[in-house]
Symmetry: none
């Protein structure tokens, strides 16, 4: 994740267990303390690891938290629920559930905030989280096209743009609802959102 296998040969090899322990400790600390009160010294001692070990592998708090949070997003799945609407509702609920976990809420928003003045961090987030999770949109879209719910898209550029738009609309709405507005993703909001999104997609797609 953080090391690019520098192929060093000699010397004692790095402990693989330490990485996992550190990332788990990071999430634990995010839950209890939140990003701003999380300290690397505390993470190290939770992980049963020396501070130096932690600094040997990550450049700082931001990089560590991105990696710790990115692992959470890999838990998201898109099981086939039979229709596009059901698939969208499923992934929205999963995403809302993820954002109800403090380690994701606090960690994700904080690193996004930090990335506003740190280009390398922004790229790290884009690669480790954003592009990685667009897989969900790709899967859902392909499945809907196979079912005939959406027309096939011949132009790959246009397809990529649409995937990006849908991703921003879905993820953005859920994030804003839960974190900024601070209100829950309940049955009512879920149906309303899905109806508007899918109506728009189908209608807009048939337009000029």
């Amino acid at each position: 994740m953080q090391s690019r296998t520098p192929a060093s040969r000699t010397g004692r090899p790095r402990s693989a267990a330490a990485d996992a322990a550190i990332l788990a400790a990071t999430r634990e600390a995010l839950v209890e303390l939140g990003w701003s009160k999380l300290t690397l010294g505390d993470v190290a001692s939770r992980a049963g690891v020396a501070k130096t070990t932690l600094y040997r592998r990550w450049a700082g708090k931001n990089e560590l938290v991105v990696d710790a949070v990115a692992e959470l997003f890999d838990e998201l799945e898109l099981p086939d629920r039979g229709s596009l609407a059901a698939d969208v509702e499923g992934v929205v609920l999963q995403f809302a559930a993820l954002l109800s976990r403090p380690e994701a809420r606090s960690g994700l928003m904080a690193v996004v905030a930090e990335s506003t003045l740190d280009e390398a961090l922004r790229e790290r987030i884009r690669v480790s989280i954003v592009e990685r999770q667009k897989r969900l949109v790709h899967t859902g879209r392909a499945r809907a096209q196979h079912r005939g719910e959406l027309p096939p898209e011949p132009d790959p550029d246009e397809a990529a743009r649409t995937v990006g738009l849908i991703f921003d609309m879905v993820a953005g709405a859920v994030v804003h609802r839960t974190l900024v507005s601070g209100e829950p993703v309940d049955e009512e909001w879920l149906h309303g959102f899905t109806r508007v999104l899918l109506s728009g997609l189908v209608t807009a797609g048939t337009g000029p």
Copy 2:
């Protein structure tokens, strides 16, 4: 904003100029340093004010930044551009422009992140920013109904829910596009987004 005018009578009154200077200095520091490296001592010295003066008026960094950022959002307007689509595009562009300013990007996301473990802060954000800016949706909606682009909504509860949904979808999509995905709100994205949103709104509204 932060002081509730406790009707103090005697002694030297608080300097009114200090408040403005402090909030301006806060935004300046947000631009240069970002939230995490912003220190209250630095803000005080930028504002030409003693640290004690600052602490007398705000409880801490979070409260200060919320107030400093909230002022920015009051700059948003919704001029009548003749159609609902044009109005939406106008406000999206304004919001995107606001989020391109570092003081807004960094400040907003950071306090949202902080609010995940601080109920009072979440409420402060909801009141000072979220509810306050829903005025834009209300205005646009009323204007569209007056033009006949949207049907009147007799049920006030249902109307409030729809306003909330639209607000989350618009604000969320723009925030996610610019801050999380890290890509610009360009002509293409703008049109795509507006088409999907409005198609969805009109179509969904006529559904059962």
Copy 3:
């Protein structure tokens, strides 16, 4: 001692009690730990003071220890015991007693060692300790001349040289005996040393 009264006017004044507490804590730590294991953090906490307070007043461990040790040397006195020989024996015993205290042994030798690569520190030692304690030699010499045990010295330069020589011979012999050779200043050594020194002084003084 360490501050040259920078005549600052505004702000909270430095605590006078802190200085004394820090120097006492330093000597206490020297006794228990010795110079190399003495840490400024430990001194600060013994003194009931924050580390920053300590660093605000002293540049580092060396400067602090010089000041802490210098205070010890001010305890040396030269009571009139009736004869030059008795006076010399008295001061040698006092000095040996001082060097039997761990805070003096460890502190003095360590800062001397440090001063070999630090000109500023050497000067600090010279001023705070060496020149300051030559007062003992001056007093003893004047008293002996008044008694008629030593001839008056008309040339002030020559007098200064002789004072320096005696100081180096007395202090050096005691330091070397106790710290380098690691043997005690007992009755026998004391008499032997005093006899050789005084015989040499009287005899040498009458030489060509």
Copy 4:
């Protein structure tokens, strides 16, 4: 020096070259850094040796430095200059020259300081340096007695005491002059010191 040749039989023998390289590197580091900033990792890398190799042979910094410095003192000699006074002046000058070398100044004083709370280290210094160099006093004394400048000393205990006293007076005065007072052993001081010491020795010896 540090290894007691435990009569190991099989396996790769320790490199003899490594010992010399390490001691030389230690002196080099003492010159450049002084005792307190000398680190064993740095010495190891100067010597082209792994840290483990160094720790296999010495218990720590103190032991290493004592050995490195002790080698320096073996360079002292006492050539026959024809008279006791000339011999004394010769050895004082040699000793002063030795103490003008930073590796000796810094190393010697530092280990003496350390030894104040470490009995084993004190003993190591006494054996490796102090007792070892008393050979110079013995030689000079025997030579002076042979020349008739000093009377023979029948009592061996008394002789040992006198040797110790002279050693402390000579070494102590030179050390104090150069390291504590921080002033040079010049022609003037040298003659003054020799005159007082020898007058005292001869006169005192004839006393009751």
